[in-house]
């Protein structure tokens, strides 16, 4: 209370200083008038009475000044003076000020952007209200807790009934359909959407901008209505944002659907590529089997923590395992916050960027600190004078701090522009397909707060060096001896060595990242799809496929052979004039998100039992027509390709990639080896007849997976096993003489001729996206590289400053040496010696640090060793050259020293 009053008074005297002063004058005048009145009353004439009163009263301005002092706001006026003085100093040393402010702005801005992004991702608002209470319930095998999976339909129903920690549970599953709108006449396209239970829309709590979402009646799991909710993007793209869209009839996979609503822009769930929502339909086999197909989302009740919900889920899992041992014995479930599910993968890259930013900021701070230190040394005489005139030490230190805070505040203000730029950059870096949108990145209040905090911190850090140095050596303020500079010089040397080592670490990190990216992007992909025309041919699942429960937790289906249909299309395509090469493959040759992963049983080995064993024996299975490897220009390393002669009655064969050969038959010749796909029934042993060069074709990282290529003609008559749906799809690739676009009409006509009822979709020229996120990683590596360059520049400036400073300190000494006949080269060597020592120290520390850092961060470097000697030595040479070059200029200047002048200068 008293404090409050005292602060209020203080504030009042700061804000309305004039009024406080007027009041004081009035108060004193009143006292004086009373004295005068008293004197008059005692009989003095008025003029003498006044004079007497003034005599008694004494020095009015002095009393007034003493009263003002009581307000305790003098420091504020001092501060104003400090700032004015600091500004003058900064202006007089403009070049260094610009560099210091620039580097601080860069460091603070980049940090702000990245910390702000992390904050926005893990704490910021999302389009879903109260998103931090949204949880996913995910199953995992009790023996393999890292393999987190979706849930089964029976699990969802049991959880819905037994869990009380959540307001509601909702279930979703991906849905893809061939979409045709009769009205617009555009070619059919294949869309990705989601099937939702009505409760899921309630849980997400985002209202549609048009119409409504499903009613409970429409969402009945066994017989849902054919209604559809469109995403904003689809509504805009395909219907031009037509507001009369409600109740419109759409054709999808041959059925008629009624549009009932449109969701707002920016809403997607659970993945960004989702373009529509339909009610979820449960098939009888969903209830029998243990297919983990369904994503279960729930909203935590208020007052229930994630841990409590997890505990309840654990006990329900135990119950279920007891009641349904066959299905549930080996499965547990985990509560995963939605944000965690979406953004956890972003943590590492952002942490790496943050580390890089922090280093740049640190270097910037040391540079500013070194600048301050140099100035403090140069201003010894000034400080000594001020102390002699009665300035307190605290006052001087405060001034030094005020100066560096001033510098960092200017840097902080400039950093907002940098932060804005960085946020744009991060927005570009966000992953595109199937990934998650980094939303609502803006310079909000949290980012501003971070900026202010960082500015203050860096100001204090930069100011701390000279202040600590000044505090520890009170004599140096007074002495003007040369000794004062030596210690400051040693400290500056240490700072520069630190800078050099940090810059080296960044150079090495960015070098590794970029070399990796270069190898991945421009190096040997193992194939070439440029200039290919591609389209997807699909047989609707109803015509060949039936779900058939699950096998080791993976949903399986029963497929009838589709060879005849595919063969008709393939043979017809070969006859189109102008087509040079044509082939088909069961998953898109590039940019595929999901590829069938089969378990391989090698001849002569025992069948895998545990999930971990099965996992280690996984290989991608692709079916292809003969000629596929030729069309995509993949090199056959050994053996032969499949041919038209490899048909169902002949022995079943396979071509494998190099990675598979290495992993499954290490040190052996894989040709002639036999293996089987682990399926329920229908398969035959296959013989390896060829090894193809590794192809980097899949999204989701550049790591090459073991891959088996088989002939589409050697397909089981009745297949029962995982990924049965692959038998209904074929992506055709064609190489023509001219522009692939010219072939499109002929190809459409040809397919319609042999298979009139089937739609073809996604007809396009093939472009290699470069795998999941090459572009993102390109930007990412560029950002790290630009940090490294900035850091190197800053460190060079540090070296330059140090050498120039040393030169200025030793002008006298150099003058003597020159006068005594020392050659210029001797002088240069003298100045370089210090620089070389610093560079050496920086390289040793930085190189060791980089080794430790690379191991710690375990960069996803697929193609480069984290201790790549070329990158390490390259970075060291680059840094050393930059540092040497920057100490060159001052050393050259030493040659121009005129001994006569130098001797006199002191």
């Amino acid at each position: 209370m008293r404090r409050l009053r005292s602060w209020r008074n203080r504030l009042r005297s700061i804000i309305s200083r004039q009024r406080a002063d007027d009041g004081l004058a009035n108060e004193l005048a009143f006292h004086l008038d009373q004295l005068v009145a008293e004197n008059i009353a005692s009989g003095l004439p008025s003029r003498q009475a006044r004079e007497a009163a003034l005599r008694t009263f004494g020095n009015v301005p002095l009393w007034a000044e003493q009263c003002r002092d009581q307000r305790r706001v003098g420091w504020l006026h001092d501060l104003r003076r400090d700032i004015a003085y600091g500004l003058r100093l900064l202006r007089s040393n403009l070049r260094f000020t610009l560099v210091a402010v620039g580097s601080l702005a860069l460091g603070i801005g980049a940090n702000t952007a990245i910390l702000g992004t992390l904050g926005a991702l893990f704490r910021g608002t999302m389009i879903m209200p109260d998103a931090s209470r949204l949880m996913l319930l995910r199953g995992y095998p009790s023996q393999l807790p890292t393999r987190v999976n979706n849930a089964t339909a029976p699990e969802y129903l049991a959880w819905k009934e037994r869990l009380h920690s959540f307001t509601a549970l909702g279930m979703s599953i991906a849905n893809r359909q061939d979409f045709v709108d009769a009205a617009d006449g555009l070619p059919p396209e294949r869309l990705t959407g989601q099937a939702f239970t009505p409760s899921l829309f309630t849980i997400l709590a985002v209202p549609p901008i048009l119409g409504r979402t499903f009613s409970a009646d429409e969402g009945r799991l066994e017989s849902p209505a054919r209604v559809i909710v469109l995403s904003y993007r689809l509504w805009q793209r395909r219907f031009g944002g037509d507001r009369a869209i409600l109740n419109r009839q759409l054709q999808m996979d041959g059925d008629t659907w009624t549009v009932i609503g449109v969701m707002p822009p920016g809403f997607w769930y659970p993945h960004e590529d989702c373009e529509y929502w339909i009610p979820l339909r449960l098939l009888p086999q969903h209830m029998q089997g243990s297919e983990r197909l369904f994503a279960v989302t729930a909203r935590l009740k208020d007052g229930v923590s994630q841990q409590q919900a997890q505990a309840e889920l654990d006990s329900v899992s135990t119950e279920l395992a007891r009641e349904f041992p066959a299905r549930q014995r080996d499965w547990r479930a985990r509560v995963v916050p939605l944000r965690e599910f979406w953004f956890a993968w972003l943590r590492l890259p952002l942490a790496i960027l943050e580390a890089a930013c922090a280093m740049v900021l640190l270097i910037a701070c040391t540079n500013v600190g070194a600048l301050q230190l140099a100035r403090a040394t140069a201003r010894r005489a000034e400080f000594a004078m001020r102390i002699a005139l009665g300035a307190s030490r605290a006052r001087l230190l405060r001034q030094l701090l005020a100066e560096s805070l001033l510098l960092s505040s200017i840097g902080g203000i400039c950093s907002l522009a940098v932060a804005w730029g960085c946020l744009r950059m991060l927005a570009i870096m966000q992953p595109t397909p199937g990934g998650v949108h980094v939303q609502h990145l803006a310079l909000g209040l949290p980012a501003m707060t971070i900026t202010v905090l960082l500015s203050c911190l860096s100001g204090l850090a930069a100011g701390a060096a000279p202040v600590l140095w000044g505090l520890g050596r009170d004599a140096s303020f007074r002495e003007t001896s040369e000794r004062g500079g030596t210690l400051g010089g040693a400290m500056r040397g240490a700072l520069v060595a630190v800078q050099l080592s940090l810059a080296l670490m960044l150079l090495i990190a960015s070098g590794l990242l970029i070399k990796n990216l270069y190898r991945v992007a421009s190096g040997d992909r193992g194939f070439n799809v440029d200039g290919l025309l591609t389209f997807d041919f699909r047989i609707p699942p109803g015509q060949f496929l039936q779900p058939a429960g699950s096998y080791y937790g993976i949903p399986i289906g029963e497929a009838h052979a589709t060879t005849a249909v595919v063969k008709r299309v393939y043979e017809r395509l070969r006859t189109i004039p102008g087509v040079e090469l044509v082939a088909g493959v069961s998953s898109p040759p590039v940019n595929a998100l999901v590829v069938p992963q089969m378990t391989i049983l090698r001849e002569g080995t025992s069948a895998p039992v545990t999930p971990a064993e099965r996992d280690s024996l996984g290989a991608v299975h692709l079916r292809m027509t003969p000629g596929y490897l030729r069309v995509v220009r993949a090199a056959l390393v050994r053996g032969r390709d499949i041919s038209d002669a490899d048909t169902a009655p002949s022995p079943w064969v396979a071509v494998i990639n190099e990675t598979m050969a290495r992993r499954f038959w290490p040190g052996e010749d894989p040709i002639g080896k036999r293996f089987m796909f682990d399926v329920v029934s229908g398969e035959q042993p296959r013989i390896v007849v060829g090894v193809v060069h590794d192809m980097m074709q899949f999204l989701g990282g550049f790591a090459i997976r073991p891959t088996v290529y088989t002939s589409y003609q050697q397909q089981p008559e009745h297949y029962r096993g995982p990924y049965a749906n692959q038998y209904g799809q074929m992506t055709f690739v064609l190489r023509g003489a001219g522009d692939p676009g010219d072939l499109m009409p002929a190809v459409r006509r040809a397919v319609a001729e042999v298979e009139p009822d089937r739609t073809i979709s996604n007809m396009t020229r093939l472009v290699w996206w470069g795998g999941f996120g090459t572009i993102n990683r390109g930007v990412y590596s560029t950002v790290v590289l630009s940090f490294a360059i900035v850091a190197t520049l800053l460190a060079s400036i540090g070296v330059y400053g140090l050498t120039a400073y040393a030169l200025s300190q030793r002008t006298h000494e150099i003058g003597i040496r020159l006068a005594l006949g020392a050659p210029a080269s001797e002088i240069r060597r003298l100045l370089w010696r210090q620089g070389i020592w610093l560079i050496g120290a920086g390289v040793v520390v930085g190189g060791t640090g980089a080794l430790a850092l690379m191991r710690l961060l375990s960069f996803d470097l697929e193609q480069v060793s984290p201790r790549d000697p070329v990158i390490f030595s390259g970075a060291i040479v680059l840094l050393a050259l930059a540092a040497l070059a920057s100490s060159f200029a001052p050393a050259r200047a030493a040659r121009r020293i005129n001994p006569a002048i130098a001797l006199r200068c002191e």
């Binding site: 209370m1 008293r2 404090r3 409050l4 009053r5 005292s6 008074n9 203080r10 009041g23 004081l24 009035n26 108060e27 004193l28 009143f30 006292h31 008038d33 009373q34 004295l35 009263f57 004494g58 020095n59 002095l62 009393w63 003493q66 009263c67 003002r68 002092d69 009581q70 307000r71 305790r72």
Partner: protein, 109 residues
């Protein structure tokens, strides 16, 4: 007559607080009251009084208000805040202890 500097450090605060304990007074009134009440012994100089008043106000022990005097002139009246009353109690107590101790010393030595 003792000069203000003769007053023991801190005694002036006590005198001011005590003087305005009953009713709000302006600076002139406070000086007069102290003089009268001490039997013309303690004359507080303006040079000490006003800085002290401003300090006490700054510390939150006094509240100041511009009011009209009986003669119709506007003057700055000081009154005790609640904290000020408490402070007066504390200062009175410590003064009593101090003067008691000084008396004891004078009597025994």
């Amino acid at each position: 007559m003792p000069k203000p500097s003769d007053l023991l450090q801190g005694t002036l605060d006590l005198l001011i607080l005590r003087t305005i304990a009953h009713e709000p007074l302006h600076g002139w009134g406070i000086a007069k009251r102290i003089l009268q009440a001490s039997g013309d012994v303690l004359s507080v100089q303006q040079g000490s009084l006003y800085p002290a008043l401003h300090r006490l106000e700054q510390q939150g022990w006094l509240d100041a208000d511009w009011k009209d005097t009986e003669l119709g002139r506007s003057a700055k009246f000081y009154s005790l805040t609640r904290e000020g009353k408490r402070q007066l109690g504390r200062e009175t107590e410590s003064w009593a202890r101090l003067s008691g101790a000084v008396n004891l010393l004078l009597e025994q030595a």
